[in-house]
Amino acid sequence: MTSTPVDPTRIGADGRFGRFGGRFSPEALVAALDEVGAAWAAAKEDPAFQTELRDLLTDYTGRPSPLTDARNFAAECGGARILLKREDLNHTGSHKINNVLGQALLTRRMGKTRVIAETGAGQHGVATATACALMGLECVIYMGEEDTRRQALNVARMELLGARVVPVTIGSRTLKDAVNEAFRDWVANVDSTHYLFGTAAGPHPFPGLVRDLHFIIGEEARAQTLERVGRLPDAVAACVGGGSNAIGAFSAFIPDESVRLYGFEAGGDGVDSGRHAASITGGSPGVFQGMRTFVLQDEYGQTVPSHSISAGLDYPAVGPEHAWLAETGRATYTPITDAAAMEAFRLLCRTEGIIPAIESAHALAGARLIGAELGPDAVILVSLSGRGDKDVDTAAAYFGLTGAPQEQE
């Protein structure tokens, strides 16, 4: 086992990831952001808090999540050994619950009684509503009106769990606008309310806080791989929207120089088409929603709407630690088109009997590229960040299946 020269959970402790990150937020929120940062710094060192979180992750979420040897799918990946980190088997069906349980405990620790959150596909909203139900917190979820229509099932799930879902009807009516609206709520209700940010992005301390809470993905997978294979993987692959599952999968491996890190962005119709959500590959450095990072923007600095078949990756920026990992070359980021993601989605269903989230299918498509490059001796760890139940309608329509929903609007 290689030594660890840096503690990856200390990277960005001051909110800086090289020239990325920082805090570009209204003065009114500074006190609240500082409060969250201080609460997390204390909770991180508090054994009672960590025990409570660990118990929830074990007994409620079902961690550790399994590592599945995808022997049949491996044949579609140049014969490389493919190990799936099964975040899809967590309670609520994705990695999102890791972050949410930690921040919900933090909300209680700060003495706040109300939680707000943004959601795109609805996975973070469902996870947040779940944690709030468990801990008796009032919960309001902001969701772009366009997304409430695309993800009606998840809206119902959130409502069943007692959350109020507020459709956002301004701007492009998608995830970025839900984030704006959540910030507007937060600034007006900051005394009672915690903004339970859903990805490793936004103003300091959120990128580091959310990364820390997902660190367990890579930490577990690293130990599981060592035990199963007897060595570290050659590569780790994850999809990247805001980048929370990817940073969680990567982080424990950052000190392991032999392990290549690959992030797969949503390439939509192709980066050249202009219709994509690949912020690193197809964007440029800027300031967006509280952070300096890669942003999809026009020549005037106006945000360009993103496009992806996957609502969870449909975001025009990326967490600042990814921007830094890309710039330093520690991780490699590659766009995956909708078509390539859907092909990998179909293959995993057929070869392994696992329906992945379309988000995660981008990582699977990426594993096919890496496998072809690295060959049959390679071991590739893939973050299977979520399950695909929520995507059945989209997939059925895409493949023209008989169960496809009829256009009703």
Binding site: R23, F24, P26, E27, A28, N180, R184, G286, G301
Partner: protein, 270 residues
């Protein structure tokens, strides 16, 4: 001395607070926004904040969001903003830009500052830029001789009030309440307290403290003018343009509203 400070001095000399109006450049289109600003100045605005419309205005409520969206739909660019600033400066009012940071960052901070100064602008209000992230803007504003207006809020600690007032020049913008822009029925009780707390840090520099957020009529302007050096009104002007059936009617309503506010800032102190 900047035209901004001259205007603030002038108002102080008359024993009153200055009236500061806000309008996004390009709302409802570029030429019309110049006409609206002329009506604001004709009605009594001493200082005009020309907004640079942005796709993600996270500090703005629905009225200004709608106005900014219309300006963007009309194709408003930073070059248009400079043109509106130049036209504003020609009215005799002091012209500021109010902008989220990314459009300035994208334009090039130094270049934006130079072009703004060349257009006759006096400074920039930066609602999502904290002094600790503002190194480049502080240098550029020093070089271009522009004022830089940072914000303080009811939640600001004394330490941050000290930091922010030190970094500001021209005036410091005191956000009257915890919330986004938009008309409110009452001035928040937090406003006066914040001004008092802020003044504890401006005694030496003489930095002016102006108050914005939620002020929507003459009586509220009078109330705020009782303790602030300037009264900032934005959504009320946008709303009158939005409500008007045509531009001509809107211009009349805007001018009348400015007159009401100007009356307010003059009736505050005996």
């Amino acid at each position: 001395m900047s035209t901004l400070v001259t205007k603030l001095d002038q108002a102080a000399g008359e024993g009153r607070a200055a009236l500061i109006g806000y309008l996004p450049a390009g709302f409802p289109d570029v030429d019309s926004s110049i006409e609206v600003i002329r009506a604001m100045v004709a009605g009594g605005c001493d200082i005009v904040e020309v907004g640079l419309p942005y796709s993600d205005p996270a500090m703005d409520g629905p009225t200004i969001q709608r106005a900014a969206d219309m300006a963007l739909d009309a194709g408003t660019t930073p070059a248009d903003v400079m043109r509106v600033v130049a036209a504003t400066a020609q009215t005799g009012a002091a012209a500021l830009v109010m902008s989220y940071y990314n459009p300035i960052d994208r334009y090039g901070v130094r270049r934006f500052a130079d072009d703004l100064a060349a257009a006759g602008g006096a400074g920039i209000i930066t609602p999502d830029l904290l002094p600790e992230e503002a190194g480049e803007w502080i240098e550029a504003s020093d070089a271009a001789g522009l004022d830089r207006i940072f914000l303080v809020a009811p939640s600001s600690t004394d330490e941050r009030l000290a930091l922010t007032t030190r970094a500001s020049r021209g005036f410091v913008y005191a956000a009257s309440l915890m919330g986004v822009t938009g008309a409110r029925t009452e001035v928040a009780a937090t406003a006066e307290k914040l001004v008092t707390r802020t003044r504890a840090h401006t005694a030496d520099s003489g930095l002016r403290v102006c108050v914005g957020l939620g002020i929507s009529n003459g009586a509220q302007a009078a109330e705020v003018a009782g303790y602030a050096d300037g009264v900032i009104v934005g959504a009320g002007f946008c709303q009158r343009v939005l409500d008007a059936p045509d531009l001509e009617t809107g211009l009349g309503a805007v001018r009348a509203f400015a007159e009401e506010l100007a009356q307010g800032v003059r009736s505050a102190r005996g």
